[in-house]
């Protein structure tokens, strides 16, 4: 396998890991460096409602994202870690779309029924449905990212060599 593909995968993994760690860093820093902690919370506020009743707590403070988002990002991270083992980095094919649809249905039902006021979900269900959706969606998103980045790098190398 070309080294470029491995480097692209590692770059995406490291960047995502940094993003994932921020979820824990915000509550961790809350009592140590309040300003930095609030800054991190404000960054994640753009991607999550951060409602306290829908978030898990760690280090006595709520995480930077809600339980559902945390489930999604945990699913993505777990998927990324096992991806080279189960799928091969240079395999740019994606699974049948029905796996993705089925994986997103629980999260869709849980979120929609709550949004329209039919019921109130709970954090354990949010994290499970989020994890399932994030984990499966990764197998459609990551191959595309790697494939596009790899073909762009190949084109640039060709241009430089010619």
């Amino acid at each position: 396998m070309e080294k470029k593909i491995i480097y692209i995968y590692l770059t995406i993994l490291i960047l995502f890991f940094i993003f994932y760690m921020g979820i824990f860093l915000a509550p961790y820093l809350y009592d140590i460096d309040r300003l930095l902690s609030l800054l991190i919370y404000s960054i994640y506020s753009h991607i999550c409602h951060q409602m306290p009743e829908r978030s898990f707590y760690i280090f006595n403070h709520k995480m930077a994202v809600c339980a559902r988002c945390f489930g999604i990002y945990t699913g993505i991270l777990f998927g990324m870690l096992i991806y080279p083992i189960v799928w091969r980095l240079n395999n740019f094919k994606t699974p049948n779309r029905w796996y993705l649809i089925v994986a997103l249905i629980p999260m869709g039902i849980d979120g929609t029924t709550q949004l329209i006021g039919l019921r109130e979900s709970f954090n354990e269900l949010r994290i499970i449905t989020g994890f399932l959706g994030g984990f499966v969606a990764l197998f459609y998103i990551l191959p595309m990212f790697i494939s596009v980045a790899y073909s762009s790098l190949k084109d640039k190398t060709k241009i430089l060599k010619s």
């Binding site: 999550c48 559902r68 999604i72 994606t94 779309r97 993705l100 949004l115 969606a137 595309m144 596009v148």
Partner: protein
């Protein structure tokens, strides 16, 4: 720039504006948990470009990313506008709590800090917009 085709421009702007405007409307913006509305803007753009030509994987991703970036920018702009209006409307009432000069200074400094958030809005929008484009392609095709 060679990755951006002319046929992409209009769908990118349409998807971006729709996503950005929806992200700014108070109750609907709750859907932006996990940036769903930025993902939506990428998906809308992907849908519109398929009507223009047959896009490649890269086209889906790039158009989604650009549309998400536009959505982020529009969201920032409208959010700032609403903030200015609300802050301004509160001036007559804040006199009981803060001197007007201090309140105006607070408003000014929060505006300056707000400007620093522009790259963040655009970057987050771009990442999730590209995911929207990818997911649209995967769900549409076998």
């Amino acid at each position: 720039m060679e990755y951006i085709k002319e046929e992409m421009i209009k769908p990118i702007l349409i998807g971006g504006v729709i996503g950005g405007v929806l992200s700014s409307i108070p109750i609907i913006s709750c859907l932006n948990c996990c940036c769903l509305l930025y993902v939506l803007s990428g998906a809308i753009t992907a849908h519109l470009i398929t009507k223009e030509y047959i896009p490649s994987d890269r086209d889906y991703m790039i158009s989604g990313a650009l549309s998400g970036g536009v959505a982020g920018l529009v969201s920032w702009l409208l959010g700032t506008l609403f903030g200015v209006i609300i802050y301004g409307a509160m001036i007559p009432f804040m006199g009981d709590y803060y001197p007007n000069d201090l309140y105006m200074e607070m408003m000014g400094s929060s505006m300056i800090v707000n400007i620093l958030y522009i790259p963040l809005y655009v970057l987050i929008g771009a990442v999730f917009g590209s995911i929207g484009g990818i997911l649209y392609e995967k769900l549409k095709n076998k």
